[in-house]
C-alpha cells in the first residue's frame, strides 16, 4: 500500500546523505508529534522518513565550556525538564518548551521540531529568540550556524536549504543578574495554542537593565524578534514608562491575522500586556541571580 521508507541512521552524515538524496519528499522525524498528525491528515506524504533520535548529538544536553548550553534538536521537553541545571539557568526557555502539548506530547516533542514545524504560534520559539539561541544545521555542504529567528520563513516553511537538518540549539552563558520568562495568552489553562506568546530575557546591574531581548509569537507569519521593545527596556530601571514604551513597540510590531483564537485588535493589545507581565517575571528572576 505504501512506498514510504523509514531510516534511523546512527550518524549525522548518513542522515544528511539520505535526507538530501530523497529531496523534497523526505521528512525528518524527531518526536513526531507534528509529523504523524500531518501524515494522518494526508497533508504530508513523505517518501522517506529519517528518524534522527539514534544520532547522539541530536538527543544530548551539554553544558558548553563557556557556561552555556547546547541542546540537541530532538531532546524531548520532558527530558529537558529533568536536566538538573538547564531549568535553573534558562527557566523561561524551559517553561516555553514545557507548554507544548500534554504530558504525553512532552514525552516526545522537541524544541527542534517546534522550530522546524514553523508555526507562528510555536511556544518554544519566542523564548529561544529571547535567549539569543543559535542553531547549528548540517547539510550536504557541511555545517553552519544561524540565529533562531532566521529559521522560520512563514507558516510551515523554514529557511533551511534542501537537505539541511537542524542539529542543536546553543544558548549563551548567563552573566550574573540575568533572567528570562515566557508567557502565552490562551483562553484555557492547558493544552491550547497561543493567541499571543511573549519571551523576554534580560540582565540587570544595580537595578538597571543592561541587555534585553524580546521574542513575540502568534502575531505575524513568523515569530518575531522585537528589537524596538528591547531597546526601550535597556538603560531603564524597568519603570512604568520603559515598560509602556516596550509594550507599545510590541503592539507596533504585530501583523496578526483575525481567526477563531483572536482578532487583530485583541492580539495587538495583548502583545503589549504580555510584554509587561513577562518582563516583570524575567526581572524578578534576574534579581534572584
Amino acid at each position: 500500500m505504501t512506498d514510504i521508507r523509514y531510516l534511523s541512521p546512527s550518524t549525522l552524515d548518513e542522515a544528511v546523505s539520505a535526507f538530501a538524496a530523497a529531496g523534497s519528499a523526505a521528512r525528518i522525524l524527531a518526536g513526531g508529534t507534528d509529523l504523524l498528525v500531518q501524515m494522518r491528515a494526508g497533508s504530508v506524504r513523505p517518501g522517506l522518513i529519517v528518524d534522527i533520535k539514534k544520532i547522539s548529538e541530536m538527543t544530548a544536553i551539554e553544558e558548553t565550556a563557556d557556561g552555556g548550553f547546547r541542546v540537541g534538536a530532538a531532546v524531548p521537553g520532558a527530558v529537558l525538564a529533568e536536566h538538573p541545571r538547564f531549568g535553573k539557568v534558562w527557566p523561561g526557555v524551559l517553561e516555553a518548551v514545557n507548554l507544548i502539548g500534554s504530558t504525553q506530547v512532552q514525552g516526545r516533542a522537541s524544541a527542534g521540531g517546534n522550530l522546524c514545524n514553523s508555526s507562528p504560534a510555536a511556544d518554544s520559539v519566542p523564548a529561544m529568540i529571547a535567549a539569543g539561541a543559535i542553531v547549528t544545521v548540517a547539510g550536504p555542504n557541511g555545517r553552519r550556524e544561524m540565529p533562531v529567528e532566521a529559521v522560520p520563513a512563514g507558516p510551515g516553511r523554514t529557511h533551511l536549504k534542501p537537505g539541511e537538518i537542524l542539529v542543536s540549539f546553543t544558548l549563551p552563558p548567563r552573566p550574573p543578574g540575568s533572567g528570562d520568562a515566557y508567557l502565552r495568552m490562551i483562553p484555557r489553562t492547558e493544552m491550547d495554542i497561543a493567541v499571543v506568546g511573549c519571551g523576554v530575557s534580560l540582565t540587570l546591574k544595580g537595578g538597571v537593565c543592561t541587555t534585553a531581548r524580546v521574542g513575540l509569537g502568534a502575531v505575524a507569519p513568523t515569530v518575531l524578534l522585537v528589537e524596538a521593545a528591547a531597546k526601550a527596556l535597556v538603560g531603564s530601571k524597568l519603570d512604568d514608562a520603559a515598560l509602556s514604551a516596550a509594550a507599545s513597540a510590541c503592539s507596533a510590531a504585530c501583523r496578526p491575522i483575525d481567526d477563531k483564537r483572536g482578532t487583530i485588535a485583541y492580539r495587538t493589545k495583548i502583545a503589549g500586556v504580555l510584554l509587561k507581565r513577562t518582563a516583570a517575571i524575567a526581572a524578578q528572576r534576574a534579581g534572584g541571580n
Partner: protein, 160 residues
C-alpha cells in the same frame, strides 16, 4: 515494499512483529500484536486513550511509528495487573466508579500510573495538569482525579 521487522520488548516480554513504515505503534499494538487495551480516540495525540510507556516515558502510541519500537521497551495497559490481581489504580477506579463508557480508562490508568511513579504524593492540581492530555468525553474527571489521589494515599500508607 517489504515490511519492516521490529524486535522490541512489550510488558517485559521480547516480541517481534512486521509493520509498514508508516504504521503507528497503536496500529501494531491493536493489529499484529493483538493488544487492544490501548484505544484509538482521536489518532492525533489529543485524547490520550492510546497512552503507553516507551522506556518508562508516557507517550501517545498514535504519535509514534511502530518501527521506532525497535530495541526499546514498551509497556501497555495489559501489563498493569499481575495476573488476576489488579493494580491498586485499577482496583480504585472500579471501587469509586471512576469510569463510565471506558474508552478513556486504559489511557487514564497508564498515565496515572506514570504520575504516581514519578510523584507519589501529587496535589489535585498536579493530577489535573498531568492528565490534561487524557480526555474523558463522559466528563467523569472528578471521580478519576479523586481515585488517583486516593490510590496515591493508599500506596503511600502501604509502603509505610
Amino acid at each position: 515494499m517489504a515490511k519492516l521487522h521490529v524486535s522490541t520488548t512489550i510488558n517485559g516480554e521480547p516480541m517481534e512483529f512486521l509493520c509498514e513504515p508508516n504504521d503507528t505503534m497503536l496500529d501494531a499494538l491493536r493489529g499484529p500484536l493483538g493488544l487492544t487495551g490501548s484505544k484509538e480516540g482521536c489518532a492525533s495525540g489529543d485524547c490520550g486513550a492510546c497512552s503507553i510507556l516507551l522506556d518508562d516515558r508516557l507517550v501517545c502510541s498514535c504519535l509514534m511509528l511502530s518501527a521506532e519500537a525497535q530495541g526499546h521497551e514498551i509497556r501497555t495497559i495489559e501489563g498493569m495487573a499481575h495476573g488476576e490481581k489488579l493494580h491498586p489504580l485499577q482496583q480504585k477506579f472500579l471501587e469509586m466508579a471512576a469510569l463510565q463508557c471506558g474508552i478513556c480508562t486504559s489511557g487514564m490508568l497508564v498515565a496515572s500510573d506514570a504520575l504516581l511513579k514519578k510523584n507519589p504524593q501529587p496535589s489535585e492540581e498536579e493530577v489535573r495538569f498531568w492528565l490534561a492530555g487524557n480526555l474523558c468525553r463522559c466528563t467523569g474527571y472528578d471521580k478519576i482525579v479523586r481515585a488517583v489521589l486516593e490510590t496515591a494515599q493508599d500506596m503511600r500508607e502501604a509502603r509505610n
